[in-house]
């Protein structure tokens, strides 16, 4: 009996320890799921003095510092940008993704001692409201981002134009034209095969393929990234260089280097493009922050860009040096995350990410150099799929419509203007192989 009692106590302590370590003590409920996906059902974010529709500029920026990303605050304070606000609106993700999250409530995913996720099938792994006091709150949010419905099961952004500008003068230095494709190999919720591809010996979670069409010196440059389901396993990346006509495997360092000389690192793609385990994640606060969400078709779109054959036009840019998207900004519920890279040689000391609580996209973040000084801001505008390209209607994807990566120190920016298309036919699996790089090369 004595032994049994000891075992019971030991077992209990063991469970408790595991629970404390992994943060699975609180049971997830369907209500948690509903609150996570529909935060604006019966609530509208507010801030004293703020009214939707107002403009935030140099004259009133101090009043709204609390609801601004620190980098955006600096931009507005310096007179580089006037932020045009609008009503907060819900952006509902695809019902299949939400349903997958609901299904997981009965047997929810768990964060293990390695900081990775067990028992995850699909959907949002941690829909419960995070608690700042929970030391794992940050990493769970990171997992929600990683397994988010970002571009759905697959999508293509084609074309996307990147422009390199001197922010001081507005001088347009380079224009690049890309196509980028995404494919989830696992945890798929919407497109066959579900929930994953059968032949996946490497156990990939996701693959990204990118090809540069212009300018000519970079034409045919292609990038392929493989992210593994095992988050502790390093990504693999390959670069096809047109002038060499061969595939080069990328060292990991090259994903934290300026990509093709732009103000973006490969790690910045889709706001954050690395493993969860590459950073330490800390939830700083849950609060209301202004984020760039817009109805694409309701914007005043770019007139200095080519119009696509089907009439699609690109989001426009303005502000100092034409470095800022002419988006509308909504006051939204945000998880403010401080993410610090574990790698000592990483060029960043931390990222302050404003993660949208409904979509788990990262529309706005600030990056700090090794000295802790503000280095870059990265804005990724989010568009409502039903007011975007006709192909995206009903896709339930928060459409990344453009970006602005601004090097505050160098007063330089790279802007991106996207035609994002949620269309499985544009991203066949054959595109995401090393051989696919050679195939596309010519």
């Amino acid at each position: 009996m004595k032994t049994s009692a000891f075992r019971i106590v030991k077992s209990f302590l063991g469970v408790c320890t595991l629970a404390i370590c992994t943060g699975t003590a609180g049971a997830v409920t369907i209500e948690d799921v509903e609150r996570s996906f529909f935060p604006y059902e019966s609530w509208t974010p507010e801030f004293p003095g703020y009214t939707a529709g107002m403009a935030i500029d140099q004259t009133n920026v101090e009043q709204f510092k609390e609801i601004l990303d620190p980098g955006m605050y600096e931009h507005i304070k310096a007179g580089r940008y006037v932020m045009q606000t609008t009503q907060t609106e819900s952006l509902a993700l695809h019902q299949n993704y939400i349903e997958a999250t609901r299904k997981a409530v009965a047997s929810p995913p768990q964060l293990n001692a390695n900081g990775t996720v067990d028992n995850f099938v699909a959907g949002r792994p941690f829909p419960e409201e995070p608690d700042v006091a929970d030391p794992n709150a940050g990493v769970k949010i990171a997992w929600n981002f990683k397994y988010g419905y970002n571009w759905g099961d697959n999508a293509a952004v084609c074309p996307m134009y990147w422009k390199l500008r001197d922010m001081r003068t507005g001088n347009l230095e380079r224009t690049m034209r890309f196509c980028i494709h995404f494919l989830n190999m696992k945890h798929r919720v919407n497109q066959e095969p579900l929930p994953e591809f059968k032949d996946n010996p490497g156990n990939l979670y996701r693959a990204i393929y990118l090809i540069v069409n212009e300018p000519f010196d970079l034409s045919n440059t292609q990038l392929l990234m493989h992210r593994y389901e095992d988050d502790l396993k390093r990504d693999d990346a390959w670069l096809y260089l047109g002038f060499q006509r061969r595939v080069r495997r990328l060292a990991t360092g090259q994903t934290t280097d300026a990509f093709l000389g732009t103000d973006m690192m490969i790690e910045d793609f889709e706001s954050y493009n690395a493993r969860v385990s590459d950073y330490d994640w800390k939830l700083v606060a849950t609060k209301n922050v202004l984020l760039p969400f817009h109805h694409h078709n309701g914007l005043s779109l770019a007139t200095d860009m080519p119009t696509m054959p089907d009439g699609f036009k690109f989001v426009d840019f303005g502000g100092q040096g034409n470095c800022f998207p002419k988006s509308t900004w909504q006051l939204r519920k945000v998880y403010v995350i401080e993410a610090a890279p574990k790698e000592p040689g990483h060029p960043l000391s931390k990222r302050i990410m404003n993660i949208d609580a409904q979509t788990f996209t990262i529309p706005q973040q600030s990056m700090f150099d090794r000295k802790g000084e503000l280095w870059k801001t990265l804005t990724n505008t989010q568009a409502y799929p039903d007011d975007h390209h006709p192909k995206n209607k009903g896709s339930g994807v928060s459409i990344n419509d453009g970006f602005a990566s601004i090097d505050v120190q160098a007063q330089h920016c790279t802007t991106g203007q996207f035609q994002g298309l949620v269309d499985p036919s544009l991203s066949p699996p054959s595109l995401f192989t090393v051989q696919g790089l050679r195939t596309k090369a010519h």
């Binding site: 493989h226 006509r245 595939v247 990328l250 000389g261 060029p347 160098a410 090393v434």
Partner: protein, 698 residues
């Protein structure tokens, strides 16, 4: 046309002014930023560039390249068509004019070369060895010591002492003499083949002035650089069968600067020796590539099988013709010198005499030694296979290629050659009894002779089998490597190498080549705060499994190539101004040759359209190596035995003095075989250059 002589800083000034004029010209005509042109539906896209490349060579050699180049590239995507899930066509059209043959015509054009003097170390003078004009050597026609006066000498009227240059003169040795009993010296005609046809090898290295000026418009229509159709047939299981048919580049391998597996397309070394990007120096060929793409399988992350058939006529690598600014190993100079020797006769310094104390310049008659012809195979029967994929994050390939050796092999013995030691008009019956009476001893009667440096150029069959891999290593124990490693290994069977111990002067050897490459991105924040440096190092190894080197007691004979050779390369590159200012430095070192090169370069992308590259290519090391020059071979027994070996010529000698024998390695020199030890870097020590390229892209 007015001729200019551009040398030293004059060449540099010319380069800078050319760039400036080009830039100004474009600016003046108000060229706005231009992008690629494409149709509204985006299925047809056309872009290209024009550029000017200027190379100024040090050591008084002046301008070595003034190339104006235009290139148009197009891609037409037909989308899905019939059984094909995708169908597209791609092409590259290129035109080049290299003005160096007009602007520096007295070095590389129709006024190049001059008179030459043959050296005789055997006749020393207060100013060094006796120097005698081409065709007037101490050993020439009318030698009283030989039967009938011998048959030496050649027709100087038909083969005059003009437009000639000593092979290897650029390397700095004013006279290849003073050691090793006096090294051989050969002399090559250097003017374009329409101006001076001497030594031009029909169908191989026979470029006239327009061929040199406009290399894309030679007979093989190189202006149509690439043109192929790409078609993919999908299968229900997701696999694909892809065909790419037409003139194209097929790139195998994972290395820079030197090729191990990347052997499908030959290389045009006349563009810029080994330093041109392979993209520009590979010679595209008509190839059918069929590729079965399995993608991810149960075992592999990616798996593909490729079959290649090169259906276009065989094209050897272009070495550069004698007289061209770039001819790798100076082989083009040597070949042209030897071609002239065969066709017209020639003077060779320090040949006759066979004495370590010194030898004599010798005038060989035609059809005695040299290169008779090049037998270029049709060669539309080259095949390749490759299995390529990714397994557990390791990229791999297994390759096989059955092809023709792209570098020439010189076969001696086959060309019947005349015996110059027997004079014209001596009937066989009148010859001394110690000579085997027969056609081989009658002047004018050509007869195959062992160990005689009279060659045909051949391109033998080679079977290459190899493999490659690349992988990333994040951590090695506690060491943060964060590096990519690239490995290639190739085994060839059938390659041929010079071999002075063999009657045919060549032998085959199996060869293992390998390379290990290491790439790492590393921040040096004091030099570049936000952008990493790419450090890329490579070690190449070459091992001749059947290497043949024989110590005779008087020297080494056999293969001049090193049994084991190693090359090291190091690339350091970073980027400033958002990759618009891109400095890099590339170095390479040939370990056995003790020869190296350092190539600093800075690229400035002024805009999407304008690109400027300023570079240098500087050599260091000990340059030239020596090897047995075969002068102690005995192809004409007993005349060609070293003095005293078999008694005074032409006294009777018993066998084996009457049997041809190989060199005994008594005489060594830079020429002709030392080049195989010096390697492509050592043999280009004179090619120190300042280079400027201006390109406008559209």
């Amino acid at each position: 046309m007015a001729r200019q002589k551009l040398r030293g800083w004059g060449a540099v000034r010319h380069a800078l002014s050319t760039a400036g004029v080009a830039a100004l010209a474009w600016a003046c005509v108000g060229i706005a930023p231009v992008q690629a042109w494409s149709t509204v539906d985006g299925t047809l896209e056309v872009h290209g560039f024009v550029d000017s490349t200027t190379h100024g060579r040090a050591h008084g050699l002046g301008l070595s390249k003034q190339r104006f180049r235009g290139q148009l590239e197009f891609s037409k995507n037909f989308g899905a068509a019939g059984i094909f899930s995708s169908l597209s066509a791609h092409g590259i059209v290129r035109a080049v004019y290299d003005g160096v043959y007009d602007l520096n015509s007295d070095t590389y054009g129709d006024e190049a070369g001059g008179q030459v003097m043959g050296a005789s170390t055997g006749i020393p003078t207060p100013n060094g060895p006796l120097l005698t004009p081409w065709g007037s050597s101490p050993v020439t026609a009318g030698n009283p010591a030989l039967p009938g006066g011998g048959g030496f000498g050649f027709d100087v009227a038909a083969n005059p002492n003009t437009g000639l240059r000593k092979v290897g003169r650029e390397l700095g040795a004013s006279s290849n003499t003073g050691q090793f009993g006096g090294g051989l010296e050969l002399f090559t005609p250097v003017r374009p083949c329409n101006v001076d046809p001497r030594g031009c090898i029909d169908g191989y290295l026979d470029f006239d002035e327009d061929d040199l000026r406009f290399p894309e418009f030679r007979d093989d229509h190189r202006w149509l650089r690439e043109m192929y159709v790409d078609a993919t047939i999908p299968f229900e299981n997701g696999n694909e069968l892809n065909f790419r048919v037409g003139r194209q580049q097929v790139v195998w391998g994972r290395t820079d600067l030197f090729r191990v597996l990347d052997q499908v397309n030959p290389i045009d070394f006349s563009v810029q020796n080994i330093y041109e990007e392979f993209e520009d120096s590979r010679i595209p060929l008509g190839i059918l590539s069929a590729e079965y793409r399995m993608g991810a399988t149960a075992m592999f992350d990616d798996l593909n099988f490729q079959f290649l058939w090169n259906f276009e006529d065989f094209q050897p690598s272009v070495l550069g013709q004698g007289g061209q600014p770039y001819n790798i190993l100076l082989a083009g100079d040597l070949f042209r010198a030897l071609g002239n020797c065969w066709d017209n006769g020639c003077t060779v310094s320090n040949f006759a005499g066979l004495s370590p104390a010194g030898n004599l310049a010798t005038d060989f008659p035609a059809h005695t030694l040299g290169i008779r012809q090049a037998n270029v195979p049709d060669g539309n029967d080259q095949f390749g296979m490759r299995l390529e994929g990714v397994f557990k994050s390791v990229g791999f390939s297994v390759n096989a290629l059955y092809f023709y050796q792209q570098l020439p092999s010189l076969h001696a013995f086959q060309p019947p050659a005349v015996n110059p030691f027997v004079g014209r008009g001596i009937p066989a019956a009148a010859l001394p009894p110690f000579l085997t009476v027969g056609p081989e001893t009658v002047f004018g009667q050509e007869f195959p002779r062992s160990y005689l440096p009279a060659f045909d150029i051949e391109f033998p069959r080679v079977l290459l089998v190899g493999a490659s891999g690349d992988f990333y290593v994040d951590q090695l124990g506690s060491i943060p490597l964060k590096s990519v490693f690239r490995v290639e290994v190739a085994h060839t069977n059938g390659e041929e190498f010079p071999d002075t111990s063999k009657p045919g002067m060549y032998s085959t050897s199996r060869v293992m080549r390998w390379v290990v490459g290491w790439d790492r991105q590393t921040f040096f924040r004091t030099l570049n705060r936000n952008r990493a440096f790419l450090i890329s190092a490579q070690v190449f190894g070459e091992h001749l499994l059947d290497h043949n080197l024989i110590e005779t007691g008087t020297g080494s004979i056999g293969m001049p190539n090193w049994k084991d050779d190693f090359f090291l390369t190091l690339l350091l590159q970073t980027n400033y101004m958002n990759d618009r200012l891109n400095p890099r430095i590339l170095t390479a070192y040939d370990v056995r040759a003790h020869a190296g090169v350092v190539g600093p370069q800075i690229e400035w992308l002024m805009s999407d359209n304008w690109q400027f590259i300023l570079a240098a290519n500087l050599k260091f090391g000990t340059a030239r190596q020596v090897f047995d020059n075969n002068a102690s071979a005995n192809p004409y027994p007993p005349f060609t035995l070293p003095a005293g070996t078999c008694g005074p010529v032409p006294s009777a000698n018993p066998p084996p003095c009457n049997a041809p024998t190989s060199s005994i390695g008594l005489f060594r020199g830079y020429e002709p075989l030392g080049r195989f030890r010096s390697g492509p870097i050592g043999m280009a020590q004179h090619e120190d250059e300042l280079q400027l390229m201006v390109r406008f892209r559209f």
